[in-house]
Symmetry: C4
Subunit: 217 residues, 4 copies
């Protein structure tokens, strides 16, 4: 396209806004679909009230998986959103990387469901490794998306200065080794791997959210 049709700032912003709104939609749906994995025990199999309590307690991996993945996706959305506040424009490669990230997030209900089914069963190790792998893929997705956008100030807004770029890079880099560690741990001990990911989510939920605050104020 020749220079006469170079889009202005409003058009770029509208374009970027669309990609963000589409991604927001995918995050919101992935978040809400998680509940479909929690199955209600059938009434005919329950003879006395406390049997239902017992049946639900036995399903604790489903509830644990639900909350872990909910927080995971919610924090994923917040990070995605923070990243986008610094983006001026999108291009083909960025869309491709963003698509990869959305693929891993929409896939998340499957390892969650697998985990809920296999904790305490023979397939636990396999399910735990898959869960940690998908988590790691998501972390890699963020690294790629951010590094591509920030490299040489490629897609960033003008008013984003070096300190802001460094701060975000530092935050992404700080958590990345933990995803790698959780992945390695999943081969040795699934509870340890999940415990580490849970702690990381808890940490994000507190300080990550606080960072979001700093980022805005």
């Amino acid at each position: 396209m020749d220079h006469e049709h170079r889009p202005n700032a409003t058009e770029l912003s509208r374009e970027t806004g669309r990609v963000e709104a589409f991604s927001d939609g995918v995050f919101a749906i992935a978040l809400t679909l998680l509940i479909l994995d929690i199955k209600v025990p059938r009434a005919f199999s329950i003879a006395v009230p406390h049997e239902l309590t017992a049946a639900l307690l036995k399903e604790w991996p489903s509830f644990f998986g639900y909350i872990l993945s909910f927080v995971f996706i919610l924090i994923g959305w917040i990070n995605h959103h923070r990243l986008f506040t610094h983006i001026l424009r999108v291009n083909g490669t960025f869309l491709l990387l963003n698509g990869f990230l959305l693929l891993t997030f929409t896939f998340q209900p499957f390892p969650t469901s697998l985990l809920a089914e296999y904790i305490g069963h023979p397939g636990e190790r396999v399910a735990g490794i898959i869960y940690a792998s998908v988590s790691l893929l998501i972390a890699i997705g963020y690294q790629l998306l951010w590094r591509y956008a920030a490299y040489n100030h490629r897609l960033l807004k003008r008013n984003v200065n070096k300190d802001m770029i460094k701060q975000i890079s530092r935050e992404f880099n700080r958590s990345f080794p933990i995803f790698v560690l959780a992945f390695i741990l999943s081969f040795i001990s699934v509870p340890a791997s999940l415990g580490l990911l849970s702690l990381l989510m808890l940490f994000f939920a507190v300080t990550g959210f606080t960072a979001a605050e700093t980022g805005v104020e």
Copy 2:
């Protein structure tokens, strides 16, 4: 972040708008997913027409649960939305509290489904207590979100005056004891607990909606 990059009113409003739009999406999806819990009786089990009528009538708890939870989520959305009309900016803690609220709403299809399965069966008491508990958690979520935002005018718009704050607080405080009562009642009589929640929703649907009108005009 230093003072040179303090965001202006437009940026704050855009930020707050994104959080609201994301929450709106989650509410809309949770609302629409409720229908997946109503199961169609299989054709091969029905020999004569009126057997289908009978089978559907026997499923009345599903329909009742569907309508109750639909109204619950719809009113939840309206309240969430009203609250946000007074919010100027968001911060980390607010996002955390808002996330907790979204978690309880996306979880809502599960107790609804549990209720539909167990009304009239041995597990009714357990299902009723869980439904009332989740309802109470939602009410607590609103209290926390609003109190945090309104405390010392922390996140509110400048033009929100003390009378407006008091009015909203009064409305939230007025309904809160009823959620507590419904929770206590669920240990004694599930129909009484559900009846109370249904009445509250009916009351909201009429006066709550009217209050929404007052709030806008």
Copy 3:
């Protein structure tokens, strides 16, 4: 609320826009969830290729129901959207009526599924009556929503003149008796009732869409 805080045109428009965006989300989700009702025949039950063809052809009521309800919801969205282009502001009663309309639309997948299961089976009559009833409820919902908003120019924009109001009322009134007729017919002949509704949707898809064109140009 006193007169000092009477919202200005921008605030009213933002408010109305939110309600419309939320409703749009519900329509889009209801539309997309319909596909979940079409079941894939299990592979182990198919020994030779043409058995799959036969199995899929036998499922024609599912495909018919899918397309009918898809067009139904899509046209519902277009009508909802056209109605909203004339709305200046919303109030409590309008939100209540809009909520009723959304309830009927999110419920739509259930009668569709029921119809797909029972066409050609003993429960056909019952399923057909329920489908026609929900369709009629939707038509009633539009009548209420529009009449309430248009009565004495209650919630309409200033530039909406009497001719425009009359035109929309005429269109809603023109199709209403057909929904009533389809409802009555469902007690006599389900194919006739569904045929009439299909014709009406076809008519809408052609002239209704054309009217939308006129409405915009």
Copy 4:
């Protein structure tokens, strides 16, 4: 409607934006719902860990179908979005054609699911033909939508010049014969047909995204 009420540019843009936002929602939901087709093997059927690995590997058609359809819908969204950046206004016929496109996209989970169930089973041919047919229908949908909008500059923005129109037409025309070929191939060899569609998606993911870049910059 008489000339006094001819909508201005802002109104036309708002109108077009709504149709695009609604379509975006449908794309986002269709994308996220795909995961529901991947079934978790039941825990009781797995006695030793590697049985789960084997069970998951046996499900490769589900994962292949998931990724293929995800990329298909994502690219579909990008193309839809690019097309809309040139649209000034919508009319009834355009809404009808857009509705047809959305219908084919929301239907996509069904052939994907069918394919996952029947690859390597007697029904493979039938499933493959249906998948290629729906893909072809989508390609036809884009042709119709774009040709209708671009014919005589009917619905396009003023600043869209002949070169830009030709470029988009050329891109749509370039891929169309491949969809036809994949359709024909599906009658001869399903793997060849799917391989061709996969290559096309890969090609789009790389050059199509790059074209999107060119389109914006």
